[in-house]
Symmetry: C2
Subunit: 114 residues, 2 copies
Amino acid sequence: MVQYRANSSIDRVTSAISDPTRRAILERLARGPGRISDVAKPFAMSLTGFCKHVRVLERAGLVRRTRRGRDNTLKLSPQPLREVAHWILKYEQFWNARLDRLEQFFASHKEKSR
Amino acid sequence: MVQYRANSSIDRVTSAISDPTRRAILERLARGPGRISDVAKPFAMSLTGFCKHVRVLERAGLVRRTRRGRDNTLKLSPQPLREVAHWILKYEQFWNARLDRLEQFFASHKEKSR
């Protein structure tokens, strides 16, 4: 039987970053923390719609929200991406192997055409 | 206005790997290609359910299916993960920066307690 954990952190994180708006929010917060209304401004959607995306990012642990009275500040929390990077980079050997084979193919082809 | 591409390859790939069954299929295929019925066997689900997951992986370009008569062979195609790795590794500096700060904190704490 194949063993796997359901509903793990990696599930929530990959699902959170599968949306272009949410990736754009993370890219904005990589430039520094910001008040939620300021961060939301350039996005072509209602504040309610924007906050739904923020909640998905919060549940994945990718964004932290600090409440100070009426001010809500958003801050990037990129650590959960680490586990995803770790999982993906196990496959790096496969795409590298393929690139190596392509290189060899073109090298031998060049050799023959001389 | 924030610029982003909707429904890009990165959307499909991150969404495809957000499910533990689909990650387990990729992990199985990393050990080598296999006939769909053989690959499906250890998974606790119907072949129909399994094939739905395979189709999501195919649409993301992560799995290739070769049809030879009645035999369907599945093969890993990890290249689309590259773009996701590239996107995630932009954030590596942030989690490294945090680890550096933690290290500095513990180093200075150790220094003071001597």
